[in-house]
């Protein structure tokens, strides 16, 4: 267990070394919140809220979804490159499984990025909404589902990377996954903003628990929905994790490496 924490610690250390670069990239979040404040105002029109979501709630919702989205590392590219170049062989020699190695290396960086991005997003939402705040106990209570979403995304991206055992280019799969996050994951707007039938269908997709669910619970907490949603999220985490292991164990047999 110590080695996993050590890998996570190294990844945090590596990442905080480039703190300036990290903070510069967060300007994008500020701009996204400003753009969407206009779009939300258009959607709400003369109403105070839609589906019980007020403008401040929507802005804080966006801060959370974007913090999950912007904290991702492009791990699928790393895995794909390692498989294609044969570097995967070097990791096989280490006393840690290939997937655990990548999870541990990435999780430290992602956790720090998500937390800082969420705080920046909240500050920005506070100013853009006209100094409105949300109930922060709901955010604290939702931290398990927020980090559940972070983990589910991470495992899904590892799964995408594993496809490099079978296809030459995994980027298109990542693009499509990303767009599912945009729509089904409710990255920009809660799913309640879509037609009701669409919402009913989307609730069964794993993407819903990669973003929308965590952000919704943070601004509109409901214990019953929380328990059901969290259970589904955990189920998806295990399914995606085991799929990754399955594809890896089948795929690694296809790798042939010459010398080194």
């Amino acid at each position: 267990m110590k080695k996993f924490f050590y890998l996570a610690y190294i990844s945090i250390k590596n990442y905080t070394f480039y703190l300036k670069d990290f903070l510069i990239t967060r300007i994008f979040l500020v701009i996204v919140i400003i753009i969407f404040s206009f779009i939300y105002k258009t959607l709400l029109g003369s109403n105070q809220s839609y589906a019980s979501f007020t403008l401040p709630m929507l802005l804080y919702y966006l801060a959370i979804t974007e913090s999950i989205e912007m904290s991702k590392t492009l791990i699928h590219n790393t895995i794909s490159d390692e498989i294609k170049s044969g570097t995967v062989a070097y990791i096989l020699l280490r006393p840690i499984s290939y997937i655990s190695f990548h999870v541990s290396s990435a999780i430290g960086e992602i956790t720090i990025k998500q937390l800082v991005t969420m705080i920046i997003g909240f500050i920005c939402a506070f100013f853009v909404s006209g100094f409105k705040i949300i109930n922060f106990w709901m955010v604290i209570a939702s931290l398990p589902v927020i980090y559940g979403a972070v983990l589910l995304n991470l495992f899904f991206m590892i799964l995408i990377g594993m496809f490099a055992f079978y296809i030459e280019e995994v980027r298109p799969i990542y693009w499509i996954y990303q767009k599912f996050i945009f729509i089904v994951g409710g990255l920009f707007v809660p799913l309640e903003f879509f037609p009701p039938t669409v919402l009913k269908i989307f609730k069964f997709f794993p993407f819903t628990y990669m973003n929308y669910f965590a952000a919704k619970m943070s601004v509109k907490f409901d214990l019953h929905e929380y328990i059901i949603g969290f259970s589904i999220q955990l189920l998806y985490i295990f399914i995606v994790y085991f799929l990754s292991i399955l594809i890896y164990s089948k795929g690694i047999k296809r790798v042939s490496i010459q010398g080194g």
Binding site: I24, F28, G45, P172, K179, F182
Partner: protein, 263 residues
């Protein structure tokens, strides 16, 4: 001029040829990008279904959004497919790879841009034309204007990339600043101007000139106006000249890394 047209054509053929060497990967990336872009349209279709009256109260119709997306995607596609090197310019400068282009008897910025082509950008171009032809009522003038302004939009995006990348000459690697600000500009470029009001709209037509590159072309295609047509053409070309000027000023500060490539 003829020399550059010939060079441009030769590079396009060369880039396509090298991309087609991996046919499966080429088509996977192009079609992947088309599907990727269509997702945004699906998002708007779903929102329009529920908020039609909110949008129409602001004077925004669905075609309005489609046109903004079509121009933004095609312009983005043109600049990345034909002058993909602009996207990686800070890395080229920092890594001393500009040496390769300085040795040739051609314009350095032109060569550094055209030397690379992003495969997936062809998907953006195809997507842009598909949604334009499917959703916007067809007439030859609007098709001509769409192509014209997509090229002009590419000049706009290219100029932005050159300016942001040229910062590398003055402050060290501007990769993060370039990516962040370019993505921000791109984000504004994909929403109709009618969403924005107040000071932000002023910013979009001045400091962040998305208005000139995308919003005015949309107005002209929807409702042709020769004055706006001329103004937007002249301003974007001046913007290009300004970006080249900044690049050339920075180039004087460029220090070669004596890059030696052995292959």
């Amino acid at each position: 001029m003829r020399y550059y047209i010939k060079l441009f054509w030769t590079f396009i053929k060369m880039n396509i040829k090298s991309q087609m060497a991996y046919k499966k990967s080429f088509f996977l990336q192009v079609f992947g990008m088309i599907i990727n872009d269509f997702a945004f349209l699906v998002l708007w279709i779903l929102l329009f279904d529920n908020f039609k009256s909110s949008f129409s109260s602001k004077g925004i119709d669905f075609n309005n959004i489609v046109l903004v997306w079509a121009i933004a995607a095609t312009s983005f596609g043109f600049v990345h497919a034909l002058f993909g090197g602009f996207r990686t310019l800070p890395t080229t400068i920092i890594g001393g790879k500009l040496d390769n282009f300085l040795l040739y008897p051609s314009n350095t910025i032109f060569l550094s841009g055209i030397s690379y082509s992003d495969v997936s950008a062809w998907g953006d171009i195809i997507y842009g034309y598909i949604i334009f032809l499917v959703f916007i009522p067809f007439n030859p003038l609007s098709l001509f204007l769409f192509t014209y302004f997509s090229i002009l939009g590419a000049v706009f995006f290219g100029s932005v990339l050159i300016i942001l990348s040229s910062l590398t000459f003055f402050i060290g690697s501007s990769e993060q600043i370039k990516e962040t600000l370019f993505n921000a500009i791109l984000s504004f470029a994909t929403y109709p101007e009618k969403f924005f009001v107040g000071p932000i709209k002023l910013i979009l037509f001045t400091f962040v000139p998305v208005g000139l590159g995308i919003y005015i072309p949309v107005r002209i295609i929807t409702n042709f106006n020769i004055i706006l047509f001329t103004i937007s053409t002249v301003i974007i070309l001046l913007f290009l000249l300004f970006s080249v000027f900044i690049f050339n000023r920075g180039l004087k500060k460029y220090e070669s890394s004596s890059l030696i490539i052995l292959s």
